[in-house]
Amino acid sequence: MLECDVLVIGAGLAGMRAALAAHTNGAKVIMVSKVHPVRSHSNAAQGGINAALTDRGDSWEDHAFDTVKGSDYLGDQDAIEVMCSEAGREIIQMEHWGVIFSRDEEGHLGTRTFGGQRRARTFFVADMTGQAILHVMYEQLMKSGVQSLEEWFVTDLIVADGECRGCVAMEIRSGTLQVIRAKTVVLATGGLGRVFEPSTNALICTGDGIALAYKAGVPLMDMEMVQFHPTTLKGSGVLITEGARAEGGYLLNKDGDRFMLKYAPSMKELASRDVVSRCEQTEINEGRGVDGCVLLDLRHLGEKTIKERLIQIYEIGRDLTGIDITKEPIPIRPGMHYQMGGIKTDVDGRAWDVKGQWGGIRNLFAAGECACVSVHGGNRLGANSLLDTVVFGRRSGEAASQMAKDMKPTEVSEEKWLKSSEDKLRSLLAREANGDSVAKIRWDLGTSMVEHLGVFREEEGMLATKAKVEDLKRRYEKVAVQDKGKMFNTALIFGIELGYMLDCAETVVLGAIERKESRGAHHRLDYPQRDDGNWMKHILVHETPEGPRLSYQPVTVTRWQPQERKY
């Protein structure tokens, strides 16, 4: 049995930031991740990280207002205030650790303007900001000496007497299970993008931590809020950064019209993501698309700008579509990108309610995309996700290590937990082939989710997907894994991940059917208006022995009353 004060599950930006904060605070930390930390999906954040730096004449209150408005007034304003007011400090910390941010002529950090914001406050490293920060964070982790279990897959959270005491994890290379006992646990396992097909998300984004917490009894919040990014490639769903529009890219329909001038005359292509995605889908649905897409035109930016500031996009165009973006527009369409909802936490990452109103599990924390603080509400602004990971990663790590200081080691029956996890894996491996496969079930799930829980939704379709998910869960109970080996058995891991994905999907569908209005990314053709009277509240989904149960929490409003949202 491995032991520590603070166990961090997940090693993307939120996880590593939490691990470093807890380590700095004197805790013995173990960090476990199913992939090597630098393979994490934080890499994919291309465009930048937001912060209002006062020495540049910006104010965090302005950033907070843009975030509140972007969230379509579903974000909790106390949490948004925390994120925006601590942003500057985190940017400077990242810079001091070594991130090579782009600079202005005087050698200060440079900025670009991102969607849904009235000022240039997005700090960036070409179009590889996430990668730049992730690798530096890993450098700091190597320097710190924090114990990092790389390519270890978590199969169970250890929960007893309403508190979390560690996890059971499998070393993928050998296939052996280990119990890791901890005083406090931070989940930072990222999003659930693969529940949708296609998605911009990496293949590892299977909602593991979200499902583990949900099954353990922690409520999930705002799960219906799924962001569709306006610029993704057809087919694979690979992301084209918002930076492409931040640098001045145009969106054109088949007639060559810049259609955003009509829908959002003031912010145009840089209106918030939910808005731009809906406009694109409308163009496509009304017959002004090109083969199910619209066009992103970057030619007027010139070769130099493209090759300096949009390097990755230039390469993606060339390698994946055979298009030279300096010479031709590239077909794009809205694609599933980000989950605003997740494990309900407070501003210190606690996944339990200190006042006892919404339940949860003590000693369990969550940060990053798997968590819902909620700072993004109905729609996340571009470049607020990296910020979310570092601010709430740090706060969770600090709070989890602080809590562990006053605790005795928890009691865990190693034998019992090992056996229950082993049994679970053995039963999955013992099933006989029945013609079905993990890949088929995943495909059916993803395509149904995109079909009925996409940019536009309505009751009938969502009910169909609900029934579909139930059916897929039955198929999942019987599906066999073909690889029976122990070492690096990726088929077994996909099998377990599919279970996590089905649990996540269920909560997304339930939340979406429940919310009978249109707000942020959740747009219903049968309820096309925002309804603050009935629905300015969060929907929580709880797992119970009788099935999922829904509850509600009010949105915290501090200083910004809801207004109509125009860009």
Binding site: G107, H108, L109, M142, K143, E315, A439, G485, F488
Partner: protein
């Protein structure tokens, strides 16, 4: 259309664990990458095929492997281009690393070498209140190195590592350059001294394989050459590699061509008997094949022209440094 992939498999749990080739035929679309095809095989034909992959857009660095004999990212490589004019596309795990299973390489040695270059920023003095000020072009230059995704393609195809597994290798050295080149980092002297030792910058043979293999245009070899310049500028010249470089330059500038005997003497030192004796077999072999350099070295007819060239290059370099 159908594609044929020959995949090198390895099952560590087999009774006799030996690598073997397995052929897969799979229906593919014209836009497919090699990774798309491998995923399709894994999902539809053979779940036991193990490989690492995640982002599908050349940013996570998981899927480095050898395709048609050369290391690259499977997600970045068009299948149709690889299949052109061949009966089958071959896929093997990355080289210069042990194989765990199928296409999964053990990257533990890779990371321990990265760790050996102390890959974290080492500024000195009090931290500023705000950001460190740094010239925009210096930082833009570093972005080109920082773009390294640590996929290991360069290490896979490094010809030095095949001979000497102790060589730090292109990825770790490019990472070292990222700090030496960073105006905020103040540990250049210590770094360059350490890198000048055995297994460091002077062990690269400039074969260019890493530059070819790198899917992100990092050009690790060029970074290693830049480190050599910096190390010599910083005064770390008391090593074979530096002396070789200096002697090479001096001889060619003087006579317009290389005097290989003097090069050896200047590199190793006349009094270095063991090294001189060590060169004897090379000399003998050269003699037997009629390739022994002349004992009495003569300058080329118009050696002054070469000296002029050297002057021009020196002036240009001075200009660059300013």
């Amino acid at each position: 259309m159908e594609a044929i992939l020959k995949v090198k498999r390895f099952n560590p749990e087999a009774a006799k664990p030996e690598p073997y080739w397995q052929e897969y035929r799979v229906e593919v679309e014209p836009h497919f990458t090699v990774l798309d095809a491998l995923i399709k095989i894994r999902e539809e034909k053979d779940e036991t095929l193990s490989l690492r992959c995640s982002c599908r857009s050349a940013i996570c660095g998981s899927c480095a492997m050898r395709i048609n004999g050369h290391a690259t990212l499977a997600c970045k490589t068009k299948l149709s281009e690889m299949a052109r004019g061949r009966p089958a596309v071959t896929v093997e795990p990355a080289g210069n690393m042990p194989t765990i299973k199928d296409l999964v390489a053990d990257m533990t040695p890779f990371w321990s070498k990265v760790m050996a270059v102390e890959p974290w920023l080492q500024p000195r003095g009090p931290e500023p209140q705000g950001e460190y000020l740094a010239p925009a072009d210096a930082m833009q230059h570093l972005v080109g190195v920082m773009a390294c995704i640590m996929c290991g393609a360069c290490v896979s195809d490094c010809t030095v590592l095949e001979i000497d597994p102790n060589f730090l290798g292109p990825a770790a050295l490019a990472k070292a350059y990222r700090f030496v080149g960073d105006p905020r980092d103040q540990a250049d002297a210590e770094r360059l001294q350490a890198l000048s030792r055995y297994s460091g910058i002077w062990d690269c043979t400039r074969c260019n394989e890493c530059v070819q293999a790198c899917p992100k245009g990092i050009a690790p070899m060029d970074r290693i050459m830049a480190l050599r310049d910096r190390a010599m500028d910083a005064g770390f010249r008391n090593n074979t590699g530096s002396r070789h470089t200096e002697a090479f330059e001096e001889i060619v500038e003087h006579s317009g061509r290389l005097d290989e005997l003097r090069l050896a003497i200047k590199t190793f030192g006349m009094m270095n008997v063991p090294a001189m004796l060590g060169l004897a077999p090379v000399g003998l072999r050269a003699l037997m094949r009629g390739k022994m350099p002349p004992i009495f070295h003569k300058p080329i007819p118009n050696a002054q022209a070469v000296q002029k060239l050297f002057k021009k290059v020196e002036e240009a370099q001075k200009g660059d440094r300013k």
